[in-house]
């Protein structure tokens, strides 16, 4: 699966996740020599006609450590998409270690600052893990 998606049909929120190796192009496998610009992207669409702060959380599925995030914590990351209207996106760089196949990454949580009720978890239909072949 190259792109994973979850939706909240009532609140009008869509979350998409994918891995890229060059810019935003989706990728479903990595081969040696591995590219140096691998990223885990999380994109959010919202139908609300005003800005919202979104908080997105990505993680590597337990037991699939052949990929690691380049950041303070190797198996998870979180970022804020500030004052978003329509569409916003964040990403985290990754590296690949040739330990086996496949790699699995996922969206673990999406929250937004609701002006009705404060910090709220977006109730999304389950977003599938992204499975990427590494060879």
């Amino acid at each position: 699966m190259a792109k994973a998606r979850g939706t909240d049909a009532i609140q009008g929120i869509v979350v998409e996740a994918w891995l890229s190796a060059t810019g935003h192009a989706e990728i479903s496998s990595f081969s040696n020599p591995y590219p140096g610009d691998i990223r885990h992207h999380i994109g959010v669409h919202s139908n609300a006609g005003y800005p919202l702060d979104f908080y997105v959380y990505g993680s590597i599925a337990s037991g699939y450590s052949q990929v690691a995030y380049l950041g303070p914590i190797a198996d998870k990351w979180d970022k804020k998409i500030s004052q978003m209207t329509g569409y916003g996106e964040e990403s985290q760089p990754m590296q690949v270690s040739p330990l086996g196949s496949p790699a699995r990454v996922q969206v673990s949580l999406v929250q937004f600052d609701s002006t009705w009720s404060g910090l709220t978890a977006a109730i999304l239909d389950r977003i599938p893990e992204i499975s990427v072949d590494v060879s």
Binding site: A9, N47, G49, P51
Partner: protein
């Protein structure tokens, strides 16, 4: 009906104000700090809409010469498309071929969220552009989640009789107030005006 406007909540890009009655939040107004067009603001409330509400709105909003953008978010799909049409404003509404939009609204699986941008800026007596978003569900049955319906427009358009004629029925029929809907509608514009930065006002 008496409404209270709570002190505005400032965010990076503007201000939100909540309008409440008897301590119950009824609606909110967002005014951007630097609006892309003068006097723009958003007005929204917690409510579900139905297909028939949106069908009625479209009949009022769609003019022969307009550009329409739709984003429909369902449980397992996202659909976006744009539609541009040129014509003469005096054409009868029945002659306007917006069948694709109506078909999408009518046939998409419920529930879904609709984002609808209608730009009729080439018609001088009509609104420049209005964005409407709504949570659409069946007329009966429980819906889980936090539905919302709202509009983004400008004070300039708000004051046009054609605007109220087109948009107010959606507000009145979804806000769920036995009385006071007209007062709340007026309060929304007053609140937007009070929060509007001077430089954002139209000359």
């Amino acid at each position: 009906m008496d409404f209270a406007v709570l002190p505005p909540l400032k965010v990076e890009s503007g201000q939100f104000a909540t309008i409440s009655s008897d301590g119950r939040p009824l609606a909110q107004v967002f005014v951007p700090e630097r609006p892309p067009v003068p006097e723009q603001f958003s007005f929204f409330w917690r409510a579900l809409a139905t297909r028939s509400h949106i069908g009625a709105l479209l009949k009022q909003l769609l003019r022969a010469e307009s550009e329409v953008k739709v984003r429909l978010i369902g449980r397992s799909y996202v659909t976006t498309f744009g539609y541009s049409r040129t014509g003469t404003p005096d054409q009868h509404p029945e002659d306007w071929n917006f069948e694709l939009i109506y078909r999408l609204i009518e046939q998409a699986d419920l529930p879904y969220s609709l984002g609808l941008t209608i730009d009729t800026s080439t018609l001088r007596d009509w609104v420049s552009e209005v964005y409407v978003w709504a949570s659409i569900a069946a007329e009966s049955g429980l819906v889980q989640g936090k539905p919302e319906t709202g509009i983004r427009t400008t004070l300039h358009d708000w004051d046009k009789p054609t605007f109220k004629h087109a948009i107010y029925p959606l507000f009145e029929s979804t806000i769920g107030l036995k009385e006071g809907a007209d007062d709340l509608w007026s309060q929304a514009a007053k609140t937007a005006k009070s929060l509007m930065p001077v430089e954002a006002r139209a000359a």
